[in-house]
C-alpha cells in the first residue's frame, strides 16, 4: 500500500472550548473554539472563505443552520457556508465538506466548527408522537435507550470472547488516567476498577461510570490547501488530513445498531459477504490514505461505553476478532504502549457534545502529532486515526499525519 497525500489538506489551526455542563448557548462555545483555532492558525476571520458548521438538533433553528449561525456570530464576512447533520459523525461531515471545497479549488481557507449544549440524562428522541420514526418507536415499544445497545454489544463480548467486567472497567481506568491533565476534558479524576464496579448498573453488564455522559463543548479546525499552508509560512512538518471516511453500511446490514429495532435480512447475501459497518468505515479510511494499522502511532475512538472501545480495537485491525481484551490487559493501548488509544481521555473524560466530538477527536490527533499534548503526549507518532459511530448509518474515520 502506497501512502497517498495527493488529496491531503493542511490543518493550520485547532481550538476547543472546554467540555462541561456549562448551560450556556452553544454558539458561545463554537465562537470560542473558532477564535482559538484562528489564533492557532495565524489566520484572520476576514480571510476565511468557507465555514462548515456541524449541526445540533437540540438547540432550535440556529442549530440546524450551524454554518450560518457561527458565521453570523463571528460577524458576516461574505464567506460561503455549509451545515452538516450526520448524528455523531456531523463533525466529520463538516470536515469533509470543507476538505472537498479546498480540494476542488473553490477556496483556500476553511473554518470547521461544531458545538453543542445538551440536556441532562439519557438522550431521548425529539418530542411529538411519531409512529413511523424508529428513534421514537424504540423508546416507546421497547424502552431501548442508547445504553441498551451498549449493553448488548458488551454482553456479546462476554459470552463469545470471555470478556470480564474487570476488562471493561480497565478501559475506563486507562482513559481516566490519560485525561487527567487535559485542560479541555470535563472529568479529570482517577478511578479504580472497584469504583467502577461499585457504581450502579445502567444496562447489564455496564455500570454508570462506563457509559459516556452528555456534555457541552465546542471544537474547531482551520483547514487550508497545502499550497496555501506553505505560502502562509508553515515551518517544520505540516500536519495534514489524508483521509475522511464517511461510508454507509452495505446491504444487508445484519448487525443490530442504534436506533433500529430490526436489522436487514441476510437471505439474499452470499455467505460471509458483510464485514460489518464499523470495520468498513475504517477500511475506507485506510484505503484512502494508503496506510494500514501498522502505520498508526495513536487512535482516538468513540468510547460511548468501555466495551465499545474494545470493539474498535478489532475494527481498527489492531488485533484479531476476540483478542481486544488481551490488548487492554497487556497495556498495549495505554500511553507508552504499542498503540495508545484515546490519549485525550476519550469520551470517558469528555462526555459527548455530538456535533463537536468528531472535530475534537481530530484536534487531539493534531496536537499529539505536533508534540503539544502536555501531560498526555504520545512520543514519536507520525500518523493518527479517529473512529466514530452514530445513529442511522453514520460513522466516520479521519486519518491525520505529519
Amino acid at each position: 500500500m502506497a501512502r497517498d497525500t495527493s488529496r491531503s489538506v493542511a490543518v493550520l489551526g485547532a481550538g476547543m472550548h472546554p467540555w462541561g455542563k456549562w448551560g450556556r448557548n452553544f454558539v458561545e462555545y463554537g465562537v470560542a473554539a473558532a477564535t482559538e483555532a484562528l489564533r492557532d492558525a495565524g489566520i484572520e476571520w476576514r480571510d476565511v472563505q468557507f465555514v462548515a458548521g456541524a449541526d445540533t438538533i437540540r438547540n432550535g433553528y440556529p442549530g440546524f443552520v450551524a454554518g450560518a449561525t457561527f458565521a453570523q456570530a463571528l460577524g458576516w464576512n461574505g464567506a460561503r457556508i455549509s451545515s452538516s447533520y450526520a448524528a455523531c459523525a456531523s463533525g466529520a461531515q463538516a470536515i469533509n465538506s470543507a476538505r472537498a471545497q479546498i480540494l476542488a479549488g473553490f477556496c483556500d481557507v476553511a473554518l470547521v466548527v461544531g458545538a453543542d449544549t445538551t440536556p441532562k440524562g439519557f438522550f431521548a428522541p425529539v418530542g411529538g408522537e411519531r409512529k413511523s420514526d424508529p428513534d421514537w418507536l424504540r423508546f416507546h415499544l421497547i424502552g431501548a435507550t442508547n445504553p441498551t445497545y451498549f449493553g448488548l454489544f458488551a454482553r456479546r463480548r462476554m459470552d463469545l470472547y470471555g470478556a470480564t467486567p474487570q476488562d471493561f472497567a480497565a478501559v475506563k481506568v486507562k482513559n481516566a488516567r490519560h485525561g487527567l491533565s487535559n485542560p479541555n476534558a470535563r472529568y479529570r479524576a482517577e478511578v479504580t476498577v472497584d469504583d467502577i464496579l461499585a457504581s450502579p448498573v445502567v444496562a447489564d453488564p455496564l455500570h454508570l461510570l462506563e457509559i459516556c455522559a452528555t456534555s457541552d463543548g465546542g471544537a474547531a479546525l482551520v483547514l487550508t490547501s497545502t499550497e496555501f499552508a506553505r505560502r502562509h509560512g508553515v515551518t517544520g512538518p505540516m500536519v495534514t488530513i489524508d483521509a475522511v471516511s464517511t461510508v454507509t453500511p452495505t446491504f444487508p446490514q445484519t448487525r443490530i445498531d442504534m436506533p433500529d429495532i430490526s436489522t436487514d435480512s441476510g437471505v439474499t447475501a452470499p455467505p460471509g459477504a458483510s464485514g460489518g459497518f464499523k470495520p468498513a468505515v475504517i477500511a475506507a479510511a485506510y484505503d484512502e490514505a494508503g496506510i494500514g494499522p501498522d502505520d498508526l502511532g495513536l487512535a482516538e475512538v468513540y468510547d460511548l461505553s468501555t466495551a465499545l472501545e474494545l470493539d474498535w480495537y478489532e475494527d481498527l485491525q489492531l488485533c484479531k476478532e476476540g483478542e481486544a481484551e488481551r490488548l487492554i490487559r497487556d497495556g498495549d493501548t495505554t500511553i507508552g504502549g504499542r498503540i495508545p488509544v484515546n490519549p485525550s481521555g476519550g469520551l470517558a473524560c469528555f462526555g459527548e457534545a455530538i456535533p463537536a466530538q468528531a472535530i475534537a477527536q481530530v484536534c487531539e490527533v493534531v496536537w499529539q502529532l505536533q508534540g503539544r499534548a502536555a501531560g498526555r503526549q504520545v512520543e514519536g507518532a507520525t500518523v493518527g486515526i479517529t473512529a466514530n459511530q452514530g445513529l442511522f448509518g453514520h460513522g466516520s474515520s479521519v486519518i491525520v499525519s505529519r
Binding site: 440524562g121 439519557f122 431521548a124 428522541p125 408522537e129 409512529k131 421514537w136 418507536l137 423508546f139 416507546h140 415499544l141 421497547i142 424502552g143 431501548a144 435507550t145 445504553p147 441498551t148 451498549f150 449493553g151 448488548l152 454489544f153 458488551a154 454482553r155 456479546r156 459470552d159 463469545l160 450502579p200 448498573v201 445502567v202 444496562a203 447489564d204 453488564p205 455496564l206 446491504f251 444487508p252 445484519t254 448487525r255 443490530i256 433500529d260 429495532i261 430490526s262 436489522t263 436487514d264 435480512s265 441476510g266 437471505v267 439474499t268 447475501a269 452470499p270 455467505p271 460471509g272 459477504a273 458483510s274 464485514g275 460489518g276 470495520p279 470493539d311 478489532e314 475494527d315 476478532e321
Partner: protein
C-alpha cells in the same frame, strides 16, 4: 381480546404483530429478491440489487436465538410510558436472531426474566404481553416480547451467527 387483568387489549403499534392464538410479528417478503423486512416494507426494496416494489405480507418465525441481551435498570425517558402503578421494575431486553429470515429483532423479555438466566444462543419464543396499562380507556396496551423457550442453548464457543452470514460485527 382481554388480558389476565380482564381489560381489553390494544396493540402499542398497529399492524406489526398478531394478537391471538400463537402471536407472530408481521413482516414482509419482497416478491423480487425474497428479502424479509420488519416492520413490513411498502414500495421500494432495501436491497440495492433489486428494483421490485411488491412485498408480500408475511408472519415471521415465532422462534429464534438470543444474539445478545441486556436490561434497563433505570426507567427510560418518554415516549416510554411510565408504569402505573409505580414502582418501575427493571426488565431485560434481547436482540433475537431469526434463522429463516436471517435478521435480528429487538424486544423486551417477559417480566420476571433477568439477565442472569440468559445466554447468547439461547432459544426464545415470541409472546404478546402488556407494555403498559391505559386506565383512561380501561385497556392494556400490548407489545411483542421474547420468552425463554427452554431447551439447550446453542454453543457459544464458536460463531453463534452461523445462521446469519455477516451477522457478526466482523464477518467471516
Amino acid at each position: 381480546m382481554t388480558t389476565d387483568t380482564g381489560r381489553a387489549r390494544r396493540p402499542a403499534v398497529d399492524g406489526w404483530f398478531t394478537l391471538d392464538g400463537e402471536p407472530a410479528l408481521l413482516g414482509s417478503r419482497c416478491t423480487g429478491c425474497g428479502t424479509y423486512a420488519f416492520p413490513a416494507q411498502e414500495g421500494f426494496c432495501r436491497n440495492p440489487a433489486c428494483t421490485s416494489t411488491e412485498h408480500t405480507p408475511t408472519p415471521l418465525s415465532r422462534h429464534g436465538t438470543i444474539w445478545s441481551y441486556t436490561d434497563a435498570r433505570y426507567q427510560p425517558p418518554a415516549p416510554f410510558v411510565a408504569p402505573d402503578p409505580y414502582p418501575y421494575v427493571p426488565f431485560a431486553i434481547a436482540a433475537v436472531e431469526l434463522a429463516a429470515e436471517q435478521m435480528v429483532i429487538l424486544g423486551q423479555m417477559v417480566a420476571g426474566v433477568g439477565t442472569d438466566g440468559l445466554r447468547v444462543g439461547m432459544p426464545v419464543e415470541l409472546v404478546v404481553d402488556t407494555l403498559y396499562a391505559d386506565p383512561e380507556r380501561g385497556e392494556d396496551v400490548v407489545v411483542w416480547k421474547w420468552k425463554p423457550a427452554g431447551g439447550t442453548p446453542a454453543s457459544t464457543t464458536g460463531s453463534t451467527t452461523g445462521s446469519t452470514p455477516g451477522g457478526g460485527d466482523h464477518g467471516a
